[in-house]
């Protein structure tokens, strides 16, 4: 377990000291959301209606942006091979890296969403629901994304391919995230159920994705 924590700490430190990955993701999130009213026109009613969907999609794209780097740097300098031969199972190493990605990208993006929500005239009472769905859903994004990052490690045009592979897997998360906010908006009691399904998707990906990602990494290193 100490190996897991050490790896987590290392990745978080790297993310913090480099800073560029998180900055790019947050900046991208901001720019996409800012472009939208320019394209649709500044109709506040329309914006407030589509705000949850826009924020969720922009969040998915922003999180996707930093995924190719998940294993790339470690692959280039050879530390990935050290991890593969270390006593810590590669599955746990992958889980630590995906968890670090969630903490360093998923949480900041989810916390930035309310600010952007204000720009889109999102009903302020919906903000807690929005952040709750994003916090419950983003682990799935990081962990499913780690599978895509592992699969495209050696691929040509890896970044574009990663989007094609991973975005379809994100659709259930997106659907239940949006439907939860929809329930909260109408004041219906489906919010809790949708949030639980979102959590279930995240937990299932936390359990299953490291196994698949580690298998993909092992295949490429043998």
């Amino acid at each position: 377990m100490s190996g897991f924590l050490a790896l987590l700490k290392r990745d978080l430190t790297l993310a913090l000291r480099e800073g560029s990955a998180l900055g790019t993701a947050l900046g991208f999130f901001l720019v996409v959301v800012a472009m939208l009213p320019l394209g649709l026109g500044p109709d506040l009613k329309l914006l407030s209606r589509i705000a949850p969907g826009v924020l969720w999609i922009a969040l998915l794209l922003a999180a996707l942006l930093s995924l190719p780097r998940l294993f790339e740097a470690d692959h280039e300098d050879g530390s990935l091979e050290v991890m593969a031969t270390a006593p810590l199972p590669l599955e746990l190493a992958v889980a630590a890296k995906a968890l670090a990605h969630w903490i360093s990208t998923g949480i900041p993006l989810a916390l930035m969403a309310p600010v952007l929500g204000i720009m889109l005239n999102l009903d302020i009472t919906l903000t807690p629901a929005l952040v709750a769905t994003m916090l419950a859903g983003t682990p799935a994004i990081s962990f499913l994304g780690s599978v895509g990052a592992a699969l495209t490690l050696k691929a040509r045009r890896g970044g574009l391919l990663l989007a094609l592979l991973v975005l379809p897997l994100y659709i259930p998360t997106l659907i239940f995230g949006i439907s939860a906010i929809g329930f909260a908006n109408l004041g219906q009691d489906g919010f809790g159920a949708s949030l639980m399904i979102l959590g279930a998707i995240s937990l299932a990906s936390i359990a299953a994705a490291p196994v698949a990602a580690a298998a993909a990494l092992r295949l490429q290193m043998s």
Partner: protein, 251 residues
């Protein structure tokens, strides 16, 4: 005593068997589809609500069924490749991916053409349509991932991992019409709620399309095996050429 899958591990034996099998499967596919189409166009009655547009069903339902079946086949082959390292499993998965994508696209297009007169729109974002669209994207992802890697053996194994991850989507597609109350009707599953005059041609058409799929799949597998042989022959030739060149240069 070898099981059938073990016997098929020899590509030459597979080639022999599939060569013997292919004409029968193809002929069966042609026979079933032609007879089903005869029934569809000349015998089966128009629906009392939908009129003649119901005839789209006889293409749409088999395509949708094959879209799911070919993914199951890919998943099964991927499992065979990763767990048992069966040499033909990768060939089978590779051959089935474009076929599955084509049938999924066919199901989407026929469904969309059917939706226009029935629902008044070509496309709705209901659970069944969306999940089948995801399936189509998954097929594209499988094809793209395979083509992005130089090393064919590695590409096959990585694609197999992706195929197994994507299996999670299959039950969602299958039960999407039962779990969510959506525009797309639930499956009747060839039950007695469909009149025999429509059920028989639908069943025949489904059998015909399945045979067509297997005929195409067998042919694609043969082609893939031949392509690999040609490739290894070429490599061997290049190697031989290099050796003789080195000998001449040395002598």
């Amino acid at each position: 005593m070898q099981t059938l899958t073990q016997r098929l591990a020899n590509p030459t034996r597979f080639m022999e068997l599939s060569r013997a099998l292919l004409p029968w499967v193809s002929a069966g596919a042609a026979l079933f589809i032609l007879y089903a189409m005869y029934l569809v166009f000349f015998v089966a009655p128009p629906d009392y609500q939908q009129g003649e547009t119901v005839k789209i069903m006889y293409i749409h339902v088999p395509s949708a069924w094959l879209a799911l079946m070919s993914y199951s086949l890919i998943a099964l082959s991927s499992f065979g490749l990763l767990v048992f390292r069966h040499p033909l499993a990768d060939v089978s998965a590779k051959a089935a991916a474009p076929l599955g994508a084509a049938f999924t696209l066919c199901a989407l297009i026929t469904g969309s053409l059917w939706g226009k007169p029935m629902w008044g729109t070509y496309w709705v974002w209901d659970a069944r349509l969306t999940s089948v669209l995801i399936l189509f994207f998954l097929y594209l992802g499988l094809i793209a991932l395979r083509s992005s890697l130089e090393d064919e053996a590695l590409a096959g194994k990585l694609t197999a991992v992706l195929a197994l991850v994507g299996v999670a989507i299959l039950p969602i597609i299958k039960f999407s019409v039962d779990w969510w109350n959506t525009l797309h009707q639930p499956s009747t599953g060839f039950t007695s709620s469909v009149d025999p005059s429509m059920r028989t041609p639908l069943l025949l058409s489904a059998i015909g399309f399945t045979l067509l799929f297997f005929a195409l799949h067998l042919k694609a597998m043969q082609n893939e095996i031949l392509r690999r042989r040609v490739k290894s022959l070429r490599l061997a030739e290049v190697e031989r050429g290099e050796r003789t060149f080195a000998e001449r240069a040395g002598g």
